[in-house]
Amino acid sequence: MNKKVWVGTIVVFLLYFVLAFVVHGVLLKDEYATMSNLFRPESEVNSLMWIFVVTDAFFAFFFTLIFSKGYENKGIAEGVRYGLYVGLMMKLPAIYGVYAVMPMSYRLTMQSFLYEVVMVILCGVALALVFKPKAPAAA
């Protein structure tokens, strides 16, 4: 397996982790607070936070591996397109699927979905930059 796959995995993992903190821990914090009766208590969610670390690590690895298989060196647009496809594929069932069966507010659902898709698109852009071949050194 190509060294770039491992570098890409680490970059995606760190980027996604930071973005998830900003989105869910800062931007949507007040929205979550209005629906706290639906969720696990905060202390319980914090004790299960390792699940997000593990799932983010798996996501980062597979996201990078699949990108490496189909890489076409088409620049940032390739990363945006790939991030959009995977973002929709992953986040539709995780967010709208949950909304369909649990009494979440539509506002929180839509915001989570849009932020998460943008997060995955940014990860795709990061991969496009990681995989970009180095320009040959000038003579």
């Binding site: 639906l38 969720f39 696990r40 319980e44 969610v45 299960l48 936070m49 699940i51 997000f52 593990v54 799932t55 798996f58 996501f59 597979f62 996201f63 591996l65 699949i66 298989k69 189909g70 496809y85 995977v86 929709l88 594929m89 992953m90 986040k91 539709l92 069932p93 995780a94 709208y96 699927g97 949950v98 909304y99 369909a100 069966v101 649990m102 009494p103």
Partner: protein, 141 residues
């Protein structure tokens, strides 16, 4: 866009919906019932928005076929299994374990969601690989 992507998406959509019915409507019914009976975090039957699942699955089926078409290597069933496994892990991890981490649901349900979802996408991968590998019919003789 290639006609095969649309037909492949349709095949995957039909398969995944049949499997959804088997998994969530038959196999997991006994796991859902105690959660519903204990006032768990599910919508009531009248309030459920099941149509969203069909829209989700239609978009997923299309993207599944589209991404497969971009990286198709003609490696047969093994390619379909591998592709289905990767995509299944993608979809199932955040859906099953992310939901478990946030909502008060039993671990056994999250694990079954994960395993069944991955198997569903592996089967979809096998089917789409078989379909892509089919030779087009000869025109005339």
């Amino acid at each position: 866009m290639n006609k095969k992507v649309w037909v492949g998406a349709l095949i995957v959509f039909v398969l995944i919906n049949i499997l959804d019915y088997l998994v969530h409507g038959v196999l997991l019914t006994s796991s859902y019932q105690p959660i519903i009976d204990s006032g768990g975090p599910f919508r009531s039957a009248e309030d459920s928005k099941i149509y969203i699942f069909f829209i989700n699955r239609a978009i997923q089926a299309f993207l599944f076929a589209l991404v497969f078409s971009k990286g198709y290597e003609a490696k047969g069933m093994a390619e379909g299994i591998r592709y289905g496994l990767y995509m299944g892990v993608f979809v199932a991890l955040t859906f099953a374990y992310g939901t478990y981490a946030l909502f008060p649901l039993p671990y056994s349900l999250a694990m079954m969601w994960f395993l069944y979802e991955v198997v569903q996408w592996i089967l979809a991968g096998i089917l789409i690989a078989q379909y892509w590998g089919m030779k087009p019919k000869q025109q005339g003789t």
